[in-house]
Amino acid sequence: MDGSSCYDALILSRSRKPEFSGSVEEETATVQGNNPVCGDRVTLSLRATDGTIDAVRHQTRGCAICMASADLMAEAVTGRSVTDALELGRRFTDMLETPSSQNMVADEDVLPVGLQAFRPLRTHRSRLRCATLPWTALGEALTQ
């Protein structure tokens, strides 16, 4: 429908059927991210050993963007080092918050397709936080 470009097919399908929901066994960190403006809430559960993220699961109460972002984030960071995951989060936020397309080439090199699905969201300023909330929570979980 008109104006639905920010809802990539991947975002829609993951918001309907998340593949990484729940919590991990033997979690080493858990953290809750809240967006006080809309009431969205992401609870992350993860297990990291020797600086590598073994598993991430999320319980998300929120909009389609937030749900899909949490799910695609969990997929993207699983198996990565903590350093890599934090860098990925920074890139993802940059992609959304940088108004021009100056970093587009770099995005394509670095960001998995699942995260690039959120690119059209950058013209929806009021919705950026929906996509970045899971990453903010992840950053907290990895640095606590």
Binding site: M1, L12, R41
Partner: protein
Amino acid sequence: MNIADIRAQFPILSEKVHGKPLVFLDSAASAQKPDAVIDAMSQMMRSQYANIHRGLHWMSERATEAYEASRNRVASFLGGAREEIVFTRNSTEAINLVAYSYGSLLKPGQAVLISEMEHHANLVPWQMLRDRAGIELRVAPITDDGDLDLDAYGRLLSDGKVALVAITHMSNVLGTITPAERLVTMAHDAGAKILLDGSQAVVHRKVDVQKLGADFYTFTGHKLYGPTGIGVLWARGELLEAMPPFMGGGDMISSVTFEKSTWAPIPAKFEAGTPAIVEAVGLGTAIDWVESIGYEAIGAHEAALTEHALRVLPEVPGFSVVGKPKERGGVISFTMDDVHPHDIATLLDRNGIAVRAGHHCAEPLMHRLGLTATARASFGIYTTEEEIDTLAETLKRIRQFFV
């Protein structure tokens, strides 16, 4: 009331959003402004502006006259005396003024009674007072339909400890119009004063503070087709006389030495510093404009819109209206199965339709309703039935898109 004529007076309504005609259904957050208000404010800044109450020159005298004429206008609008009208920044500031000033006269053991459907503006200042002054904060429950539970309200008043009731005159989420006269009588019978938050109510109906019998009444200009930055506190003169100042500064004093200051008479005592002069004039003009259309016509138009909306919107698959109050104004909160309110709002926006989504600054109410967010369509003088039909049709497409 000719809707086309009215719409023609709101320049913003001919704007396009994302290439679509603007359908503005967010008037409960802030209403659009008619030419009359825009022109009066711009005219004042172009030809008749200076600081007020200070200058001994022609411009200052004219500006003072215009500012004070607006106070008179608000007084006649609400049915109060001119010295009982205090200009504030908005309704939030008016409530804070009462919480700080009148609140400072309360003693531990006394209570303030609010309701479950308050906007944060009529909740947080009382929590802050509770924590500052050691008073009790009581909350009157609502029914599942979204009406105030009057039996419970009576019970909460019955021990005589409630010094002040602070309740909305119309809910910004549920559209509920509260039975204000009854609430006032019950509060007074229990020895309590009562503040009514009229931010939503004054937009939709004629308010007469004498008839209501209230002690404090607050509203804000920007929801009443006036500018932002100007709000009103009306309070009974004897209460204002007894209350200490809220903020100190220029214009609120009678005399100042380094040892002590004495206060100006009301209402100046509560208006420290240069006020929102142009905005006050804009508010006065907005009131003139609203009353030139008349509350009878406004009420009839909005009742027809609300009835129409409650007929066509529930035909959208998965649509639920939040609340079923006995008496409601032109505010409809809703949810749609399988689509989050924020996704609804985003797709409506991309089709030119402005609604609000979220907790509407009433988080505890959302919690009470078992929700985290709703979408809300709210109507104004300029809203048409066709716009509500557009909303319904677009909601159907949104639902199809997500399911």
